[in-house]
């Protein structure tokens, strides 16, 4: 059974996971840091199902538990992420300073549409990736930077007092950099 699993994972990826697990044996709560290391190592910043299966077999953790942990924490991604991540704060302070409009205009600019999936509502965390895999848009409940509201995080850099124009400028800069 293991051989069939292994074929689907590249040898380099396997070696990396083996090394990560070996460094954390007999550590309680090691699963979180294993998943984190594997996700960070992935070029698209996500946890492929094959990797999860491999981790389960190697670290002797039930598949269901791995999936439970990976879905509980919103920073674990189960789908490929864009090259750039734009995270819009939807906390109360940012909401009152217009973060909903920021989010809507960003979604329109990136061609993500403004229709939500049927089983979600506006209060849910959002995670959208453009079809060209250049941008991922997500929302967060609060960055703790309410004095700078509305706050947007562009590739882990906090930008305060953002408006639609400055956000468009950030996007243009990122697009230019990638060319």
């Amino acid at each position: 059974m293991h051989a069939a699993l292994d074929e689907r994972l590249q040898a380099g990826e396997q070696a990396f996971i083996d090394q990560v697990i070996a460094g954390r044996t007999a550590q309680p709560g090691a699963l979180l840091s294993i998943l984190e290391a594997v996700q960070n190592h992935n070029p698209h910043n996500y946890l492929p199902m094959e990797s999860l299966r491999y981790i389960a077999a190697k670290a002797d953790v039930p598949l269901s538990q791995i999936y439970s942990v990976a879905t509980f924490y919103s920073f674990f991604n189960l789908h490929p992420q864009g090259d750039n991540t734009i995270c819009i704060c939807r906390g109360t302070a940012c909401h009152t300073r217009g973060s909903r409009n920021l989010l809507q205009s960003l979604r329109l600019d990136l061609g993500l549409g403004t229709e939500d999936a049927e089983d979600t509502n506006e209060a849910d965390k959002l995670l959208l990736t453009t079809s060209d895999n250049k941008f991922t848009v997500r929302t967060v409940a609060c960055f703790g930077q309410c004095a700078l509201a509305p706050v947007v995080e562009v590739n882990h850099r906090i930008c305060g007092h953002v408006n639609e124009r400055t956000l468009q400028r950030e996007i243009r800069n990122l697009e230019r950099e990638s060319e």
């Binding site: 199902m49 269901s64 999936y67 879905t71 509980f72 089983d119 849910d124």
Partner: protein, 236 residues
Amino acid sequence: MPKKLQLRIDGEMVSALEGQTILQAARNSGKYIPTLCYLDGLTPVGGCRLCMVEVSGIDRLVPACTTPIQDGMSVSTTSAKLTRYRKIMLELLFIERNHICAVCVSNGHCELQAMASQMGITNVRFSYNYPKLSVDQSHSRYVLDHNRCILCTRCVRVCAELEGAHVWEVTSRGIHARVQSDLNQKWGESRGCTNCGKCVQACPTGALAEKGWAVEEMIKRNDNITVLAHRKGAGA
């Protein structure tokens, strides 16, 4: 041998062993505390909040199933406040999924339904969520109906602790939380499942049921799980 402790439950002096929970001490002395997520033999999690009790000297309510007893403790298991809170908890369980008893295999044999009628809940004061949930019929012998699930995690615990398969786990969080098998696969495709059916017998509602039963026909035998757990505990 653990130490014997004295405590008062509803004013009555009761002795119990050190390390026991308030719920165990109460059950052993014939006192009733309502529960849903608790199943004798499985690790208590304190999830359903129905077993909340008042302990004198503590401002907040504590869950009886996870609170260890202390010498000289004074517990009260019934009060107007507790009844009010327990009713709210049950009503919140009802609004979260589609608990439509009339078309449920467990109608008449459901712990949630029994608890509601026992507490005299005739209507729910909050608005229902009516989520659109799936029914997993992929397993050859059993059905998983998310509409009836109250996320008590009895199936999760019985599978992990007694069967050792750990097929079930609660995935995602908040209102999106679901009991799922393996890597979010269909139950029938789960490689770990041993088809033992312990999860079905442990389930307090009609969320997990055997195939082939019509409305009102699914009778669960969770006493078997308790017997099995105690036998296993005695063996260890």
